[in-house]
Symmetry: C2
C-alpha cells in the first residue's frame, strides 16, 4: 500500500520508526515525565502499521472508512502522537507540548484528540474497544476497514483482555488484528512470562485465535505478519512481537530500572544522536493508502410511539425498558444492544428477537461488554448495555474510562435494591447510583413506573453522552399517562398542598411506599409533599428548593440504595447551601435474602417506616 | 479416604448425589425460587468431593486444617447447603428454610454461614478466593490441605477467571483443583462453547494448567480425576466435567428454559420419586476423612514503633504507608501484602524486600488480587492490597462481594486526585471515596501527612473488618508529631478561634491548601476553623457538629475527588439534620494533564480558590 519499492521498505520503515523514537524521547524529556522506553519497544510496530499497512486519511482521523488504530498500552502515548504528526495531521513541533495543560497531547490518550476513539491508560481495555469497532465494521457497516490494537505484555494478565479475546473469536472478527508488544519488563519487575513467546502463543491459540510470532523490531517480519493476518478469514489474528523496552537507547534497552522515566537532557541528546547516526539518507516520505469508502444509509430517526400500557397495568421498569427498546429499534437504526446473558431478565431479548443483526449477546463478561459498546459508539452507533445493576460494578473501570472519553453509551442496570428479594445481597444493586453519579457528565435516571421508564429510553438515545438508567425487578403500578414528558433534569411533584410539613423525595419502588405513607399520614392529619426524582443527575434544583421552602426546609429522602452516594446525597448536594434539614432513609447494612416486601420493611424503607420516621420528625 | 470398599463407591456416591438433588429440589420448590437445575448438574461433583475426596471436619467448618470447598457458581447454593447438612453439620430439615429472612441459608452463599469463606453469586470470583487459600496453605501455613473450586461454564468467560488462572500457574498452586461444571446452558441461551470440552481444555492448557476431561456424572471418572490431580505437582489442575443441567429431572434435563426456576409441587414430587426409585438400598453413611493437622506458630503481635520522620521532613502519604507496612511486617506476622506491579509507586516494595515470603506480586490483575486477598483473609491472615486508587475501580465487584462478606482485607489506593499531575485523568483516583464509602461497614481513611498515614497503617491492621486508605502522590510536610493518636472515627481541628466564621473540612492535599488559605484569610481579617477529616467513614459527627455550631452553621468542604460521594457528601450526611449551610468544592469535570499545582488551581481546589470562595460566603 505504498509506492516505495518493497525491497527498500524495511530500511525506510526503520528510519521512520527511529524518527518516532526521537520524537518520543524529545517530548518526554521536555515534559520531564512519561514513558520513552515503552514507546521505543513499540516504535517499529507502529511505524509499520501507520506507514505501510493501514489505509486511512491522515488529515481526517474521524473518517469512518479509515482503518482504526488503538493504543491499548496508553502510556506509550508520545509514540501515538508522533505517528499522527509524522503522518501529517499536525506539526511535529507540537509534540513538545506533551503533558501540559495547554495541549491535548496528554499523558495518556483521550478522545479530546480527533485521532483517539477511547481513552486508554487503564490497561487491558483497548482490545475490547477494538472488538466493538470490528463488530461495527463487519456486521453493521459491512466495511473492509481493519482494526489494529497494540497491547502491552504486562496488561495481558488483565482478565478483560481474555474476555475480549473470547468474544472476538466468537464473533469471528477476522477484521481485528492485535499485536502484543512483548518487551519483557513491567513497571516494577519483569512480566510474568517475560520473553516466553510460546506461552503467549498457547494462550491465544487456546482461545481460538490465529497467532504469529515475530521479531517486533524486524520490519520485514512485521509486514509479512500483517499481510498474513489480512488474509486470514474466520478468526482474529494476534501478532506476538518479541521486543526490547527502550530499544534504540543503548543505555536503557532491556533495562529494568527504566520504566516510566524520561531521559535527562544529556541522555536524550546522546540517544537522539545515535538514532540519527544510524541513518544516512533524509527521512523518507510515505504515501499512505487511502481508505476504501463504503456507502452508509442515511439514518432517518423517527419519534418513539407512545407506550400502550393501560392505567390499571402493572409493569416492572426493567420490562418497560425492554418494551421501549424494541420499539426504538424500529425508529432509530443507530441503536444497538449488548447484554451479558441476562436478556430474559433485562428484557433486551425483546429487541434481540426483532433486530438480531443489531443485538450482540456478550455473555458473562461485563467489562468487555462495556468496552465493546464504547467501540461501537466511536463508530457512531448508540449502544445500549444492559445487565443487573450490581454486575455493572464489574465494569466500573471501563465505565470510568468511558466517562473520561465522554462516550455515547447508554447503560441500564436492573434488579436494584433489596426489593429483588430472595436472591440476596450479591444480586442487589445498592451502590450503582453512587458509582454512576460520581462520574462527571453522566446522566443518571431512575424511573418509578412503566410509562416513565419507557419514555426515558428515547431520551437516553437522543441525549448526546453517557446515560445510566436504574430499573427495578418488581412490577409497579402506573403513575403517569402515556403522554407525560420526562425531560432530563426534571422531577414530578406527586402530592402537594399548602399545609405540607415535609417533603419526601423518592424514586423507584420507594415512590410507592411514600404514596402509601402519604395516605396513612393524611388520616393522622399530617400533610407531606412527595417528589418523584426520576432524574438523579442532573437534579431538579428549582423544584427541590421550592419544595424545601414550602415545607419548612424539612426533607426526607427514601431510597432502595445504600445510604452513601445515592438520592439522599444528590438532594443534599443540591440544597447544601440552603440550610435545609434532611433525613436520609436507605439501606444501612448488608442485606439478607427474604421476601421483597419483608425486606423493604426490615431495612426501614417501607411505608410503615416512613410514617414512623415522619411522626418523629414533624 | 473412605471406609467403603472402592467397588461399591461409585454407586453409593450416586445415591448420595441424588440425595443432594432431592434436597435441592425440595428446598427451592418450598422457597418458590432458586436454581434446582444448576444444582443437579453439579451434584455428582459435589457428592464425590464431600463424601470421598475431601478431608475435613464436618462439625467444624472453620478448622484451618480442612480441605476447602468454594462454590464459585453461587446460584447452586442449595446443593452446597445440602452437602453440609448430609455431612452432618446441621439437620437437613433446615434446608427447607432456604431463602427466608429467618435463615442464613440465603439465595446465594455468604459467610454468615460457618462453612462459607467468601460470598459468591457474582460469577467468576470463586477461583480467585481459591488462589488466596491455596497461597496460604502452600506458602504460609505449609499445610497439605487442598482447595477445591467448582466453577460454572457460563462464568468461564469472566476475565477474572483467567487472572486467577494465570496467577495460580505462576505460583505453581498444585494444591488447587478447579472443576468446571460444563452443563452447556447459560441463563438466557446456550453458553459460548456449549459442550465443546476440547475448547475449554485448550484454554486451560494454554494457561499452563494440568487438565482432565471427565463425564461429570460418572463417579468413577471423577474419583480418578481427583486422585490424579492430587498427585500432580508444580501446577494446578482443572477438571473439565461434561454435565447436563437438570440432570436427574427427566423433564428439565438439558432443557434451555429451565434456568433459575423451581419445580412446582407436582413436578417436584415426580422428580423426587424418580430419583428415589433408582436406588433400592438405604442412604449410605460415609465416614469423612479427618483433616491433617498442621502446627501453626502463635502469632505474637507487637505494637508498631513510632514513625521516625522529623518535623521538617516532607513525605508522600503513599510512602509513609510503605514505611509503616515494612515495620508492621516485623511486629505482626499475620500481615501479608499484595500489589499489582506498582510496588515501587505504592512503596509496598519496602515490605516486599524484607518479607518476600509474605509478599505476593499479583501483576496487573486487580480483580484476582482482591479476590486472593479475601482468600488469605479467610485463612486468618491480614492482607494489605495496594495499587493506584483509580485501578481499584477495576475490582469494584470484588470489593462489593468482600464487603458483603465483611472480609478482613485492607485496601490502599494511591495517586489520588488531580494532584498527581501530568499523567492525566486515567491515572487519577477521583471516585474511590464514593465507591468505598457506599459499602456498609468499610472504614475509609484519608491521611494528610506522613505521621498520620504511618499511624493509620497499624490501625488498619488491628481493626477487624474492611478498611480503605486513600493516599496521595505528592510529598507533603508534617502536620503532626510522632505520638499523635489517630483513632478511627476521629478528626483533627487544626485551626480554631472564638471568632471563626466558617469551618473548612479537608483531607489529604487540600488540608495544606486550606492552611495556606487560612493565613491569607487571617491577613484579610477573616477567621476560619480547619478540620483534617482523616477518618471519612466513620465520621466524627460530634466535632463537626460542634464546629458547625461555633461557626455560624457555615461549612466548606474541599477535596481532590469528584463532587459526588466524597468528603462533602460524608460531611453533609453527618450534619443533614442540623440545617447547616455547606459549600462543596471538588473536581466537577473530567480533568486534564498538567502540573499538580496548576491543576489544583485550575479545578478550583487551591488555596487561592478557597480564599476566593470564602470571601464570597462570609
Amino acid at each position: 500500500m505504498t509506492t516505495i519499492a518493497s525491497a527498500q521498505l524495511p530500511e525506510l520503515l526503520q528510519q521512520k520508526a527511529d524518527q518516532l523514537r526521537i520524537h518520543s524521547i524529545r517530548a518526554t524529556t521536555k515534559a520531564g515525565s512519561g514513558h520513552p522506553t515503552s514507546c521505543c519497544s513499540a516504535a517499529d510496530i507502529v511505524a509499520t502499521l501507520f506507514f505501510s499497512v493501514m489505509r486511512f486519511d491522515p488529515k481526517n482521523p474521524r473518517n469512518p472508512d479509515n482503518d482504526r488504530f488503538i493504543l491499548s498500552k496508553g502510556h506509550a502515548a508520545p509514540l501515538l502522537y508522533a505517528a499522527w504528526a509524522e503522518a501529517g495531521l499536525f506539526d511535529p513541533q507540537q509534540l513538545l507540548e506533551l503533558r501540559t495543560l495547554e495541549s491535548d497531547l496528554e499523558g495518556h490518550p483521550t478522545p479530546r484528540l480527533s485521532f483517539v476513539d477511547m481513552a486508554t491508560g487503564s490497561l487491558g481495555q483497548g482490545l475490547s474497544v477494538g472488538v466493538g469497532i470490528a463488530l461495527n465494521n463487519k456486521y453493521l457497516d459491512k466495511s473492509p476497514a481493519r482494526t489494529y490494537v497494540v497491547l502491552g505484555d504486562g496488561e495481558s494478565v488483565e482478565g478483560s483482555v481474555w474476555e475480549a479475546s473470547d468474544l472476538a473469536r466468537h464473533f469471528q472478527l477476522d477484521n481485528l488484528c492485535g499485536i502484543v508488544d512483548i518487551n519483557r519488563l513491567g513497571q516494577s519487575d519483569p512480566t510474568m512470562l517475560e520473553h516466553n513467546l510460546k506461552s503467549y502463543q498457547a494462550r491465544w491459540e487456546g482461545f481460538g485465535w490465529h497467532t504469529i510470532c515475530v521479531d517486533g523490531h524486524n520490519h520485514a517480519e512485521l509486514l509479512k505478519a500483517f499481510a498474513t493476518a489480512a488474509q486470514t478469514s474466520g478468526k482474529p489474528t494476534m501478532i506476538l512481537a518479541k521486543t526490547f523496552k527502550g530499544k534504540g537507547i543503548s543505555f536503557a534497552e532491556d533495562h529494568p530500572s527504566w520504566h516510566g522515566k524520561p531521559l535527562n537532557a544529556q541522555q536524550a541528546e546522546e540517544a537522539i544522536a545515535a538514532l540519527n547516526g544510524s541513518h544516512t539518507s533524509p527521512s523518507p516520505t510515505f504515501s499512505i493508502a487511502p481508505p476504501q469508502p463504503v456507502k452508509r444509509a442515511k439514518s432517518a430517526i423517527q419519534p418513539l410511539p407512545a407506550p400502550t400500557y393501560k392505567p390499571a397495568d402493572s409493569v416492572a421498569t426493567r420490562e418497560a425498558f425492554g418494551d421501549a427498546l424494541a420499539k426504538l429499534g424500529e425508529v432509530n437504526p443507530l441503536v444497538v444492544v449488548l447484554d451479558a446473558d441476562v436478556k430474559n431478565s433485562t428484557y433486551t431479548d425483546k429487541f434481540g428477537k426483532r433486530f438480531s443483526d443489531r443485538f450482540f449477546e456478550s455473555f458473562i463478561a461485563e467489562q468487555n461488554m462495556v468496552g465493546a459498546a464504547t467501540g461501537l459508539a466511536a463508530c457512531g452507533k448508540i449502544p445500549f448495555v444492559a445487565t443487573f445493576a450490581c454486575f455493572l460494578t464489574r465494569a466500573y473501570d471501563f465505565i470510568r474510562m468511558a466517562a473520561i472519553s465522554q462516550s455515547n453509551i447508554k447503560l441500564m442496570g436492573s434488579h436494584v435494591g433489596v426489593s429483588i428479594g430472595e436472591d440476596g445481597p450479591s444480586q442487589m444493586g445498592l451502590e450503582d447510583l453512587a458509582m454512576m453519579a460520581a462520574q462527571p457528565g453522566v446522566v443518571v435516571l431512575y424511573p418509578s413506573d412503566g410509562m416513565c421508564a419507557y419514555r426515558l429510553v428515547e431520551t437516553m438515545a437522543n441525549h448526546k453522552g453517557m446515560v445510566y438508567m436504574r430499573t427495578g425487578r418488581p412490577k409497579t403500578p402506573m403513575l403517569y399517562g402515556p403522554e407525560e414528558p420526562f425531560p432530563i433534569g426534571g422531577s414530578k411533584v406527586l402530592r402537594q398542598s399548602a399545609k405540607d410539613q415535609l417533603t419526601i423525595v423518592a424514586a423507584g419502588v420507594t415512590v410507592f411506599e411514600a404514596l402509601k405513607a402519604y395516605d396513612e399520614l393524611q388520616t393522622a392529619g399530617i400533610a407531606v409533599r412527595i417528589i418523584d426524582l426520576y432524574s438523579v443527575v442532573p437534579i431538579d434544583v428549582a423544584t427541590l428548593q421550592q419544595a424545601a421552602k414550602a415545607t419548612n426546609n424539612r426533607l426526607l429522602t427514601v431510597e432502595d440504595h445504600y445510604l452513601h452516594g445515592g438520592i439522599g446525597d444528590s438532594v443534599l448536594g443540591a440544597l447544601a447551601g440552603d440550610g435545609v434539614r434532611l433525613t436520609k432513609m436507605g439501606i444501612n447494612q448488608i442485606p439478607h435474602s427474604g421476601k421483597p416486601d419483608q425486606l423493604l420493611d426490615h431495612y426501614g424503607i417501607s411505608a410503615r417506616a416512613i410514617v414512623e420516621k415522619i411522626k418523629q420528625l414533624v
